[in-house]
């Protein structure tokens, strides 16, 4: 009995290190292969819930420390600003009267033109608490999750300098944090169209650390009608993104003899490196 077992035991103990490595590599490969199968993604969500908690603490501490430092600087600046402000108030009192008149005029003009308020969406405001460990723009981790009503595949937008644009979609949801897949990711495809000419195409990221998007499958016949600077918006033909959310602006248009469609390079409407707060859209409150 022992003589039969000992060669195997000897073999296992001799190659223990290699066998364990093999076990890890096979497990990893199996996990990659079965990724996306219902039920298999659960450990990822549990891990995200735990890790998001720690990220929230660190991100929150940095935020508080930053605010404290800024407050001290702000106080010193406050006095001089106050004096300048007092002088300006007198001037603005006169301007306000003009503003009230202009507002009233604007309201009347809107009514006359039957201006419709743009469709507003139910949304959850979230704060970015982490980013991808190696690539800068591949993943955004936000501070709200399942308990706040966030669900997978919900669209994410942000407002920057008065412009509202598409950020991406929710890729994974933990209990109190979620992973947002930004439009800069090469694996995210968005049905889009040129805002003024309504030509359709497919927008995707380039997957690297540059803030550049590409739009493909736009018919070659559109070449004459579209130009640099044209806005690209969501088409709204898939079930994820609402229509007419701003995505980017056309930067470069290229075409090849043998292709039937154009290759368009876009500059995203939002500066992803400066994003801090996002809004996750929901279909119901």
């Amino acid at each position: 009995m022992s003589s039969a077992g000992s060669p195997l035991r000897h073999l296992v103990s001799r190659y223990r290190r290699g066998l364990i490595l093999l076990g890890f590599l096979v497990s990893s490969s199996v996990m990659i292969l079965f990724n996306g199968t219902p039920g298999v993604a659960k450990p990822q969500e549990i891990g995200l819930s735990i890790f998001g908690f720690f990220q929230g603490i660190v991100s929150g501490s940095v935020h508080v420390a930053g605010q404290l430092g800024l407050s001290v600087v702000d106080l010193a600046d406050l006095q001089s600003k106050y004096q300048r402000s007092a002088a300006l108030v007198k001037k603005y009192e006169g301007d306000e009267r003009t503003l009230v008149q202009l507002r009233e005029e604007n309201r009347r003009l809107r009514e006359q033109l039957s201006f419709h308020q743009t469709l507003s969406y139910f949304n959850v405001p979230v704060e970015i608490i982490g980013r991808d460990p190696s690539k800068v723009y591949s993943t955004l981790i936000v501070n709200k999750g399942y308990l706040d009503g966030i669900r997978k595949n919900l669209p994410v937008i942000a407002t920057q300098g008065g412009v509202t644009g598409l950020v991406g979609k929710v890729a994974a949801v933990g209990l109190t944090s979620s992973v947002v897949q930004p439009i800069l990711d090469a694996n995210l495809f968005i049905a889009a169209r040129v805002e003024n000419t309504r030509h359709e195409g497919l927008v995707t990221g380039k997957g690297n650390n540059q803030e550049v998007l590409s739009m493909s499958y736009v018919k070659k016949s559109a070449m004459e009608q579209i130009s640099r600077g044209d806005l690209i918006v969501t088409a709204g033909i898939d079930s994820i993104y609402p229509a007419d959310l701003l995505i980017g602006r056309i930067q470069v248009i290229t075409t090849k003899e043998y292709q039937t469609s154009l290759d368009i390079e876009l500059e995203p409407i939002l500066d992803f490196s400066r994003l801090e707060y996002l809004n996750i859209l929901r279909s119901e409150p």
Binding site: L21, M31, L48, P133, K206, E211
Partner: protein, 170 residues
């Protein structure tokens, strides 16, 4: 061995939180240094293959939970890195500059090539440009520049907290 694994996981777990939060403010030319990878590789050369592959597998799974890559992607990269870089334990002389720089360079090249190979093998859909681009080059430079500093910090911490001197006689 269990103590080594737990210590390494504790340090790397803390670093992962820092990597995904504080280091996001240190973006240079659209890239940030991958301190987590550099520290992991340095730890692997100190701790050896056996414990490092275990640490790598667990750490990789945690990283997988916070990225959009499939579960197992980083577990594969880190466990293999733990094994390969751990083979260097006791075989190389650690000077303060050249070897840390070399490790930083090798680690970044390793991650790029293995990541790209997994992408091809499992058809993960990432374009080639997401692995081989200017951002990767900048990250390599940042990793190389940071490696000696990280190695010095590691030595300093080790000396402070793991004083192995003991008395004699008796």
């Amino acid at each position: 061995m269990i103590r080594t694994v737990l210590w390494a996981l504790g340090i790397l777990g803390l670093l992962l939180v820092i990597q995904t939060t504080l280091l996001s403010y240190l973006v240079v030319f659209g890239s940030k240094p991958n301190v987590l990878l550099v520290v992991f590789v340095i730890l692997a050369t100190q701790n050896g293959s056996f414990s490092s592959q275990i640490v790598g597998f667990v750490l990789g799974l945690v990283v997988d939970t916070i990225t959009t890559m499939p579960l197992g992607y980083h577990a594969f990269i880190f466990s293999l890195a733990g094994y390969l870089f751990g083979l260097g334990r006791g075989k190389v002389y650690f000077d303060p500059i050249v070897l840390p720089v070399l490790l930083g360079l090798l680690a970044t090249i390793y991650e790029t090539i293995i990541g790209f190979s997994l992408n091809i093998l499992f058809n993960l859909g990432q374009p080639i440009s997401s692995y081989f681009n200017m951002g990767t080059l900048f990250q390599t430079i940042l990793n190389i520049l940071l490696s000696p500093l990280i190695f010095w910090l590691y030595g300093w911490i080790k000396e402070k907290f793991q004083n192995t001197r003991r008395g004699f006689g008796g």
